[in-house]
């Protein structure tokens, strides 16, 4: 008994130092040398300013202002009121606390499959999607909306949308930016990741990368 107690105390201390300090510090050291970009979260800078992480989804909604074209940013209950910025591709709906795509507090939405709340949220997202996209893609119907465009993701930080979703949004982005649909479509194709190892998972379009590429296109023209 006493021997077990002594061994247990020594053991837990030794293992904690080995597995809780030495091991993570070695992994951190090697990672920071061998894969510094990945280990630090694939940060994306534009003109020296941090705009996000390549693999963390973000919102492309802009703050609403008090009157069209100017005024102060609107707030409700201390949170910014936002609306989709039509010149950008929009990410999936997100329900993190403290505003969409809060990557400091990831959370599941936990909407049940047989829940009226889920149906209502889906219906609301469908309505918003149609309002935003239908003016530029008149044939669009509810039945054609890809599910990822109106369902929240697991992490609520999904960096990707489905190619079908992107192809619908391409109509709006092309119109708003004065580009041809085929030019935007080819950008979408360029930023579509294929399946992992060619067979696993689903193809997806990285929204941040695609939007950055659009901005660069504009910059090159000007």
């Amino acid at each position: 008994m006493r021997r077990d107690i002594v061994t247990s105390i020594i053991g837990i201390v030794v293992f904690t130092v080995l597995l809780g300090l030495a091991y993570p510090l070695v992994i951190t050291g090697v990672s920071q040398v061998a894969f510094p970009g990945n280990a630090n979260g694939q940060k994306v800078y534009v003109n020296g300013k941090l705009v996000g992480s390549k693999i963390i989804g973000q919102s492309f909604q802009r703050p609403k202002v008090t009157f069209p074209g100017g005024g102060k940013p609107k707030e409700e209950e201390g949170e910014l009121v936002t609306e989709p910025d039509p010149i950008y591709f929009q990410s999936r709906p997100s329900a993190t606390e403290g505003g969409a795509y809060n990557a400091a507090a990831s959370t599941f939405s936990n909407r049940g499959p047989n829940d009226k709340v889920t149906e209502a949220e889906d219906a609301e997202n469908i309505k918003a999607y149609l309002e935003l996209e239908k003016p530029y893609d008149p044939g669009l119907t509810t039945a054609q909306i890809p599910v990822d465009a109106v369902n929240t993701s697991a992490s609520n930080l999904d960096p990707e949308i489905s190619p079908a979703n992107a192809r619908i949004q391409a109509h709006r982005v092309a119109a708003k930016r004065g580009l041809s649909l085929s030019a935007v479509d080819s950008l979408v194709a360029k930023y579509t990741d294929s399946r992992g190892l060619g067979f696993s998972g689903e193809p997806g379009v990285n929204v941040l990368e695609l939007n950055l590429a659009l901005d660069r296109l504009k910059g090159a023209k000007a």
Partner: protein, 590 residues
């Protein structure tokens, strides 16, 4: 459903089997004391550790002594982890490892969390990104991820020694088995695996949270941390406690479809390898193949059902007017609570992989699975870790069922049941039966208590209406009693209005009941399993005769599956009917 979805599932099973066999042979050597290629590298540190720990690795322990060492060591780990978590904002903790200045969670949540990690459960009422400091994660939680996994594995090894023992009482030495598990198995795979994960985009740093200014002029705060080193052992040790709240759905924990596959392999590799190790150590590899076959049949059944159900979509989606079949450029299906990069197949497969094992990691929101898709994890856990199961726990759980199946088979043919040449008698059947019943008993008792009392129902989420609320509760206690740790995450035991545990309080009923269930359903079966090993180890071996029922052929596989399903169905079917099945069958919205 898509072709690539089915292909993913098939290739995953092939790759897993191909990797598990050699690892199984390797582990059999490690626990038989034979030299392996790593002996040269870690033999020195191994001997040094014995010296520091003051143990004689050659001293064999009988089952009581083995159990005593295991329990005292687990208690020491419990106390240290509790101390670490409760002092995470104390004056002596350097700022670099608590850059956000997080306070400790209250005692009741900490009791639950500590019990959860020491029992290899990793049930999480807290949210990692808003509660835990980097130091608590790596020095506290990740250490128990290694140690609790090690404890599970050594019990399986001790049981194998009991089965194959020829005489005497010794089941081996607990400390030697633990040290060897850590140095020869867990740590080497963890080091390699962590680097693979970082190479694919899992983060590993000690930065404070980032603030980004997005293209549309809003700010985004992004959590950071030493994730990869913890992510890999979370999977490898079938622990499942995510660094972040959303676990393996978080892009920093699981950035690509490849890491998704890799993490699933990490989860299943040791449970699968141990089955082959068992075959090798008994001297008849077919014994291992029979168990592997049993597990794989049930595993594939679960995957097929989950994939079909999730690809079909949910009643709520259909009511809203969505079409959920696959179209060009979208896989369709129930994408509520699922990530685009994994898709339906990658989410359904991950769900099954982590609920048949006691891993409990999630890459999609189980609460948002369809009724039938969500019934699959219930069914997996109702099988009490016999479908691969947790590291070690899976093997010893199914071996207890083998014992039961041999006994029932013996009764049917009217002969004294024999298993690998040893006569089974009343004592070991009683012990095994008791061990098998502890987990269902804990799960059902706690669920009943939590649904029948106001204090228990306080934990049900706002969205948990009708059968969903019952499902949440049942899932919570089934998961905790199975030491699984996955959740219908709406069920709450920790109210935290702000990040950093400010203004937070725990739900004492849920925290304490859950914590007690985890401890009881972990250490109860462990002690009983060691007792079974102790009862078997001294039995004399008689050569198999003509009338001996074989335990290494397809007939026995069928019998074993029958026994597992029978026990699981008899204990859990009524409760399952009240929750997920009624949702799956009616399609009614609540």
């Amino acid at each position: 459903m898509t072709f690539s979805g089915w292909l993913t599932i098939v290739l995953f099973v092939v790759i897993l089997s191909a990797l598990a066999m050699p690892l199984g042979s390797y582990m059999a050597k490690v626990y038989s004391g034979e030299g392996v290629f790593l002996s040269r590298l870690v033999g020195g540190p191994e001997r040094l550790l014995y010296k520091v720990l003051r143990v004689d690795p050659e001293r064999g322990q009988d089952w009581k002594s083995y159990a005593k060492s295991l329990l005292i060591f687990s208690l020491a780990g419990w106390l240290l982890l509790y101390a670490i978590l409760r002092t995470q904002d104390a004056f002596f903790v350097p700022h670099a490892v608590n850059p956000l200045g997080y306070h400790s969670a209250p005692w009741n949540v900490t009791f639950n969390t500590v019990s959860s990690f020491v029992t290899n459960t990793n049930w999480q009422y807290y949210s990692g990104d808003t509660t835990m400091t980097y130091l608590s994660q790596m020095l506290g939680l990740a250490v128990q991820n290694f140690l609790s996994a090690g404890v599970g594995i050594v019990v399986a090894v001790a049981l194998i020694r009991g089965i194959i023992g020829r005489s005497g009482k010794s089941l081996g030495n607990f400390w030697q088995d633990l040290v060897r598990t850590l140095l020869y198995v867990l740590l080497p795979i963890a080091v390699l695996g962590a680097l693979v994960l970082v190479s694919q985009g899992v983060i590993q740093n000690f930065s404070t949270y980032l603030t980004a200014h997005t293209l549309t002029g809003v700010t985004q705060s992004i959590a950071m941390g030493p994730v990869a080193s913890q992510e890999v052992i979370k999977e490898l040790g079938t622990n499942g406690g995510g660094f972040f709240n959303v676990n393996s759905a978080h892009p920093f924990e699981n950035p690509t479809a490849f890491t998704n596959l890799f993490e699933m392999l990490l989860v299943l590799i040791i449970p699968a390898a141990l089955v082959f190790a068992y075959g090798k150590m008994t001297g008849n590899r077919r014994q291992g193949y029979a168990i592997y076959g049993t597990m794989m049949v049930m595993f594939l059944g679960a995957v097929v059902v989950a994939y079909i159900a999730e690809a079909h979509g949910s009643p709520a989606q259909h009511a809203a007017g969505l079409h959920t079949h696959a179209i060009s450029g979208s896989g369709g299906g129930n994408m509520e609570g699922k990530e685009q990069r994994f898709g339906i197949a990658g989410s359904a497969l991950f769900d099954v992989v982590t609920t048949v094992t006691s891993c409990g990691a999630v890459n999609s929101a189980i609460e948002s699975f369809t009724g039938i898709g969500g019934a699959v994890p219930f069914a997996n856990m109702s099988a009490s870790e016999t479908i691969f199961g947790g590291v070690g726990t899976g093997l010893y759980s199914i071996l207890l069922y083998v014992l039961l199946a041999v006994f029932i088979g013996g009764l049917m043919v009217g002969r004294t049941p024999e298993w690998l040449g040893k006569k089974l008698e009343a004592r070991e059947i009683k012990l095994a039966g008791l061990a098998i019943l502890i987990t269902p008993l804990a799960a059902l008792f706690a669920t009943a208590l939590a649904t029948a009392t106001r204090a228990g129902r306080a934990s049900i989420s706002e969205l948990g209406k009708g059968p969903q609320g019952f499902s949440e509760t049942f899932y919570a206690y089934l998961s905790q009693s199975n030491n699984n740790g996955s959740a219908f995450a709406g069920y709450t035991g920790f109210i935290q209005p702000n990040a950093g545990s400010i203004g937070s309080h725990g739900v004492t009923f849920a925290d304490v009941l859950g914590g007690s269930v985890m401890l009881f359903a972990r250490f109860g079966p462990i002690v009983l399993t060691l007792a079974v090993a102790g009862a078997l180890v001294g039995k004399r071996v008689t050569p198999a005769g003509l009338g001996t029922m074989r335990t290494d052929n397809p007939t026995f596989v069928v019998l074993l599956i029958g026994v597992i399903i029978l026990v699981g169905a008899l204990t859990f079917f009524p409760a399952l009917l009240l929750g997920p099945i009624v949702q799956g069958l009616t399609g009614h919205l609540y």
